[in-house]
Amino acid sequence: MASTSDRLLVNSQLEHLQARYVGTGHPDLHRYDWLSNIQRDTYASLVGHHNMLQYVALCENESVGRTKYKLLNKMFLPCGNPPERED
């Protein structure tokens, strides 16, 4: 990462990565954003594995479809409103 061009390259690579994988992070990522991503991934995984979804539905005594709907809704602002940023 010696020269400018290399640094530009690294940055553009990172941007590219971020564009393809939303959950990836960078050194300036706020804890809140990272935790939101984690949370979303967790819900996505629950929704994506049908057996997990059935398990949760069973626990909540809900239909699978409704549980799925609920989980999907939770993925919006999974950690509540963002904290006020200092900058």
Binding site: M1, S3, T4, S5, L17, Y21, G23, T24, G25, H26, P27, L29, R31, Y32, W34, L35, I38, Q39, D41, T42, Y43, S45, L46, G48, Y55, V56, L58, C59, E60, L71, C79, G80, P83
Partner: protein
């Protein structure tokens, strides 16, 4: 005389002049002007050499700036006289051909008309004095720091008085040039190089001085007086023709440029550079031709006088540019960075004022051009919209690159224009190029069309579509319409299948032009449709629906060039159609095509052939129809000797014939031409042989009956024996294919074929011997199929006798033939027996010729693989030593074959001896050799089971030599890569070694160890070795902070490998420690590891994500702050 038109490259400089009649013509004027150039004594050869400026003009390398019609007055006339012949040579139809660096005359404005167009090079210059020359005649002589007023699009042929202001520079003072002392910067690259050479040679051959002779001859000699009768020759004629010695003549000259007398002051060394003042010692060498651009740097600013801000800035830019252009790699990089970073401070104007003239300089070399293009590229990014006022100027300079003969120049031109359009925006680009669209000069329109096409591909075709539509409907001039259509054509060539989404729009835009009143517009429209169809293939026929009718009507109405263009379009559209339509439309057009079979026009012939090929290859065309309607006239008109003479005709005819035979079967075609294999014209025979060979390669010989088979073999052997030409591959391939496809049916002919081969193996000419040997490699399998083992053994013996061959090319082929024979006959039945053959090969392994090396190592490897037991172990060890030398080979295939052979030999004679040899070889200096040795060790380990090798190499790690230790690590790395899951048994034995290596001070050591860890880990996931890998991870982990890219990559690879072996959870736990570390450097690396882990095992990570990480303090109201956990996922806590 094509030379008059063709661009010359620098190599024709010396040779081309001798036969050039123009030069002789000017010989007389040369004398008159020698007075002028004598004044410029330093230029060396005097009048005869450099002569008048017009001579220079011819000598100089033609570069893209004087592309067309830029010859001096005399050559222009010659060129016009020869126009007819020249036009025949040139392709008039391929204006779409990207590789065609020259401008096609095809749509050449008025050029094709009967009266030669007055182009401005044969007009008397309009200026006051006869000495006045237009600036295009001269090497562009641009004062540094100001952009030339010739910044308008360079007009290559003037259409009228309106353009006179561009080329003529009455005020610029260049008219005085020829009289004054010649500025070296006006010389071309070649003449300067020639000057340097001459200077160097003369310095070496200068007469000895008395002092020098005294210094080398011992005492006791005396100088003998010349004999009484001696009279020095003084005849004036001899004086005139004596070689002039510019080194002496130029000594006193105080011209702008001086040959330095010694190395002092000249940065670059003797005789090459200028005398450089002390204050610019840190600058790279200044070539004489750089003077006009960088001359200002040489002037020292007087003491006490401050440079103005602008001057200082310009000097700064000039220094940086000079470093970029001539400097070392490091200077270049630094300056490039400076220029990029400071681009906005310098401003667009000052930068381009210096770069663009430099880029137009005719003496620019390819590398320098590349560097300057890079500069422009970088500063364009930085300047962004600031570049707008300079768009036109930049285009003027860059556009000619788009039609350069050099591929890379074209690519660079495209890149700049594409970046320029992104920086400046479409509106600016259109505004800048709009005036050139209906320029009278075809050259300008051509380059403009190409530039627009690049714009379209950079900014998207739809953005340009409205503009294109307007241009193609222009009522003002046909030129505008022509250019508009040409843009469409260029777009489709440039972007290929990416036109598909816009196909309908583009076809609609150009469609009306098919019925344009101007013939050229109709032609280019058809060509553009052809290009679109070619780019869209095999899709998009529905977009062409609307043009089918005019096209098919057009072919009935037109003749000549327009017809050819229409046919071309049809040829590309038919393959897109459904079978039924293709059949119908082919029948429609075939009438015309068959009529045109008889055309005398070469270009038309090529197009007709191409269209026939395209038509018959479509599904709907019936074989019966082809057999009856097409084949008879086709053979009658095309399979004639004359077609073999032109390279492109030849190719096209063979391709079309092969395509026809695909449809109608090979018998119909082969029958027609088989007898021509005995034709008396060799070129024709070769064409027939190539066609027959390709047809049989595609279709086999099952359809060919006994009679035809006999004729065919007879003919092809005749053609093979009778060949005299050097290019032998075609015949070889044809004979090889025919014989191999005959298979068992070839048996009756084999004795005759082998007789021919043996006879030719004995030939005086090396080429023939080589060809014979190559043929053996091709027919050996057939001999086996026909069970001609005796013949094979005989050939083996014959080849063995020829192993003493001197010519390496032939020897390589003989080895290849031997290998083929050994392969088919088997090791045990080979004659001579392997035990005799191999010792004969050992000395040949020492041959350094690539072909010999490759074939001999293949043969030896084969023997080692299959028949090692026939040879004593001692012989194999000897071969091992020879093989070590082979590891130095440049060709990768040879090195690969060599390391594989090590594996075979080790398998045959046991690993210990081979391993000892290889481990010893790790001590050598040459890196490539060491690397190959490590690969060989790894292969030995793979083929003889790792446990035979690992103790040995681990022991070798004790040798206190970095190279050896590194080699050991590398061998381990390769070995684990090759043995995969076998590695699980060896992990615990190598862990201590890897531990040690990962703690070494040398980072290369750690790097190699890390890659070994990576490969080891990738081989054994899920085999219960997690404990060892967590242990190794602890050693690898601190190294992720390495900055050197190779080390860093190796560490990342190791971490990734370990992730596979131990699962992503462990890596995540390591990462969590540092993702929010206070130090940025730590965070950067940890996030990098996290990202790669996340990308590769996103779902698996969910199970390991932490809970209760992070709180947020929110105001509840009334100043109360409540702490709230960010992560709440009740679903994870659910239990039944």
């Amino acid at each position: 005389m094509e030379g008059a038109r063709r661009k010359r490259n620098r190599w024709d400089d010396a040779g081309g002049d001798a036969g050039d009649p123009k030069r002789d013509e000017e010989g007389a004027t040369g004398k008159a002007e020698s007075a002028v150039s004598d004044a410029t004594g330093m230029l060396g050869g005097g009048g005869m050499r450099e002569g008048s400026p017009s001579q220079q003009q011819q000598k100089r390398k033609r570069n893209r700036w004087d592309d067309r019609g830029l010859d001096s007055d005399v050559s222009q006339q010659t060129a016009l006289k020869l126009k007819g012949t020249v036009e025949k040579k040139k392709s008039e139809w391929d204006s779409d051909d990207e590789n065609d660096g020259e401008v096609s005359v095809f749509d050449d404005g008025v050029a094709a008309q009967a009266t030669p167009r007055g182009n401005r090079w044969d007009q008397t210059p309009v200026a006051a004095t006869p000495k006045q020359r237009s600036r295009w005649d001269e090497t562009p002589q641009v004062a540094s720091g100001s952009f030339p007023s010739g910044a308008e699009t360079p007009l290559m042929s003037g259409g009228g008085g309106a353009y006179l202001e561009t080329p003529l520079h009455p005020e610029s003072g260049f008219g005085a040039m020829p009289q004054g002392p010649q500025d070296p910067s006006s010389l071309s690259q070649e003449s300067l190089n020639a000057l340097r050479w001459e200077k160097d040679i003369e310095a070496r051959n200068k007469p000895w001085t008395d002092e020098e002779i005294d210094a080398i001859i011992p005492d006791g000699y005396k100088i003998v007086p010349p004999p009484e009768s001696y009279v020095p020759i003084t005849t004036p004629w001899r004086k005139l023709t004596a070689t002039p010695n510019p080194a002496q003549d130029g000594e006193g000259d105080e011209g702008v440029y001086q040959m330095p007398t010694s190395g002092e002051g000249s940065v670059g060394g003797a005789g090459t550079g200028l005398t450089v003042p002390a204050h610019m010692k840190d600058l790279p060498e200044l070539k004489p031709e750089d003077m006009q651009f960088f001359g200002s740097l040489l002037r020292e600013c007087p003491e006490g006088e401050e440079l103005s801000a602008e001057e200082a800035r310009d000097r700064k830019i000039a220094r940086l540019l000079l470093k970029v252009k001539n400097g070392t790699a490091q200077q270049r990089k630094q300056s490039l960075r400076w220029l990029t970073e400071k681009a906005r401070d310098f401003g667009a104007g000052p930068l381009f004022n210096q770069i663009l003239p430099l880029l137009m300089s005719p003496t620019l070399e390819d590398q320098e051009r590349h560097l300057l293009v890079k500069v422009i590229d970088r500063i364009l990014y930085k300047l962004d919209e600031l570049v707008r006022p300079y768009v036109h100027k930049i285009l003027v300079v860059i556009e000619p690159l788009l039609i350069d003969e050099d591929y890379y120049a074209r690519v660079e031109g495209r890149e700049i224009i594409s970046n320029l359009s992104k920086a400046a925006g479409l509106a600016t680009m259109i505004a800048a190029m709009r005036p050139d669209i209906d320029n009278v000069d075809e050259y300008v329109r051509n380059t403009t069309a190409r530039a627009f096409a690049v714009c379209a591909s950079a900014l998207g075709i739809p953005t340009l579509a409205p503009f294109l539509k307007a241009v193609c409907q222009s009522k003002k001039s046909w030129q505008a319409r022509h250019t508009g259509i040409k843009i469409v054509q260029q777009i489709s060539i440039l972007v290929g299948c990416a036109v598909l989404p816009h196909l309908k729009a583009l076809v609609t835009i150009i469609q009306p032009a098919l019925q344009d009143e101007n013939q050229k517009v109709r032609t280019i429209c058809a060509l553009a449709l052809a290009a679109l169809a070619e780019a869209a293939a095999p899709y998009g026929i529905e977009s062409f629906d609307s043009v089918l009718k005019p096209l098919w009507k057009g072919v009935r109405a037109h003749r000549g060039k327009v017809l050819a263009a229409f046919l071309k379009a049809i040829g590309y559209i038919i393959p897109l159609m459904d079978a039924m339509y293709a059949n119908y439309y082919t029948r429609e057009v075939m009438v015309i095509l068959i009529r045109e079979f008889a055309t005398p026009d070469e270009e038309m012939k090529k197009i007709v052939l191409k269209v026939v090929k395209q038509c018959v290859s479509t599904e709907g065309v019936e074989p019966e129809y082809i057999r009856q309607e097409i084949l008879p006239p086709f053979f009658q008109h095309f399979w004639v000797r004359r077609m073999a003479l032109d390279r492109r005709n030849y190719r096209q005819l063979v391709d079309t014939t092969v395509e026809l035979s695909q449809k109608v079967g090979c018998v119909d075609v082969v029958e027609k031409i088989a007898d021509d294999l005995k034709d008396e014209s060799e070129a024709y025979r070769r064409m027939v042989a190539e066609a027959v060979g390709t047809i049989i390669e595609n279709q086999g010989v099952s359809e060919i009956g006994a009679g035809l088979e006999e004729r065919l073999v007879d003919g092809i052997l005749f053609a093979f024996q009778e060949q005299t030409a050097e290019d032998s591959d075609v015949m070889l391939k044809a004979v090889g294919t025919v014989v191999s496809s005959l298979g068992q049916r070839a048996k009756p002919y084999l004795p005759q074929i082998c007789g021919t081969i043996k006879w030719r193996l004995n030939n005086k000419s090396a080429k023939i011997r080589q060809q014979a040997a190559d043929l053996i490699s091709q027919v050996a399998p057939v001999l086996r199929t026909c069970e001609e083992d005796q013949l094979l053994s005989h050939l083996g013996t014959v080849l063995y006798e020829y192993l003493g061959e001197e010519y390496p090319e032939v020897l390589g082929s003989i080895l290849g033939a031997t290998k083929a024979v050994v392969n088919v006959i088997g090791m045990d039945r080979m004659t001579p027996p392997i035990k005799d053959l191999l010792p004969r090969l050992t000395p040949i392994l020492r041959n350094r010729h690539e072909k010999v090396q490759e074939n001999s190592i293949d043969l030896v490897g084969r023997i080692a693989d299959r028949g090692a037991e026939y040879v004593p172990a001692r012989e194999w060890m000897r071969i091992c030593f020879e093989l070590l030398e082979m590891l130095k080979a440049h060709k990768k295939a040879i090195r690969r074959a060599t390391v594989n052979t090590f594996g075979y030999i080790a398998k045959a004679i046991g690993p210990s001896d081979v391993l000892a040899t290889l481990l010893n070889n790790l001590k050598v200096q040459d890196r490539q050799n060491r690397v190959c040795t490590t690969v060989a060790i790894a292969i030995v380990a793979e083929s003889c089971a790792p446990f035979t090798v690992i103790p040995g190499i681990m022991n070798e790690y004790k040798v206190p030599d970095a190279n050896v230790q590194n080699g050991v690590l590398k061998s381990l790395s390769f070995m684990f890569e090759y043995i995969g899951e076998m590695g699980k048994d060896y992990i615990y034995s190598v862990v201590p070694l890897l531990e040690d290596a990962l703690m070494d001070r040398d980072h290369v050591h750690r790097q190699t160890a890390a890659s070994a860890v990576g490969h080891l880990a990738l081989g054994v996931p899920g085999m219960g070795c997690e404990d060892a890998f967590v242990h190794l991870l602890n050693y690898v982990w601190p190294n992720i902070f390495e900055t050197s890219p190779h080390v860093h990559n190796a560490m990342m690879a190791a971490v990734e490998g370990i992730r596979v072996a131990v699962g992503p959870g462990v890596i995540l736990q390591y990462c969590l420690q540092g993702l929010f570390h206070p130090a940025r450097k730590v965070r950067e690396q940890y996030w990098r590891v996290y990202n790669s882990t996340y990308v590769s095992s996103q779902d698996a990570l969910v199970a390991f994500y932490p809970r209760n990480l992070g709180y947020v303090d929110r105001e509840v109201g009334g100043g109360e702050v409540e702490r709230e956990a960010l992560l709440t996922c009740p679903e994870l806590d659910m239990m039944i």
